[in-house]
Amino acid sequence: MNKLLFFAHLKDEAGKESITIDAAGKNVAELKAFVAEQHGMTKLDSAMTAINEEFAEDSDIIQEGDTIAFIPPVSGG
């Protein structure tokens, strides 16, 4: 299984901080499309994705147990 984390406005839109699904085998782009459809999320397109706390590419494949975070444009500092 895979834990998916939401932050900032994505967390507000999802209505939760995280969900757990089986995403193994999907690449990042496929996972985003899946989550957008299944959870009615309209703003995932502008988010980056991190796998296990490192930024990932759309083509990177999710492995069993990976933690996936959707990272909206950051605004720290």
Partner: protein, 154 residues
Amino acid sequence: MKFEIAKEPINIQSVIDQVIQREAGAITTFIGTVRELTHGKKTLYLVYEAYESMAVKKLEQIGTEIQERWSGADVAITHRVGKLDITDVAVVIAVSTPHRADAYEANRYAIERIKEIVPIWKKEQWEDGQEWIGNQLETVAYPKGEPEAKDLDE
């Protein structure tokens, strides 16, 4: 810890203390504070949220990048999360180097990189609403300051 996400007010001197070195002639600090007015609009307070474990890793990465680019540099960064009032300190970056030009340049590099790669977000609270900053590229913010029906989860 040299790279830290803090839930309490940041002690600036403690951040500086972590970069003191006998080889350094210069320490620069950048202190990001909550400003009341942005483009004439009054902020009441901010809320910062972080993906904490990844944010610490990315701050460490910035420290490593600086040490690769500026010889002899030492770096410490603390970013606060939670609710911050006007003039509260959101971030402190301290950089020490043998010579002063490097201390300014490396410090500037750190804040620009924080704004690029560190997963921290701020939500601005105005008198008439609130918004997560950083999503300006979205077509939907909350133009009326509150979620409208079409913005709500269904």
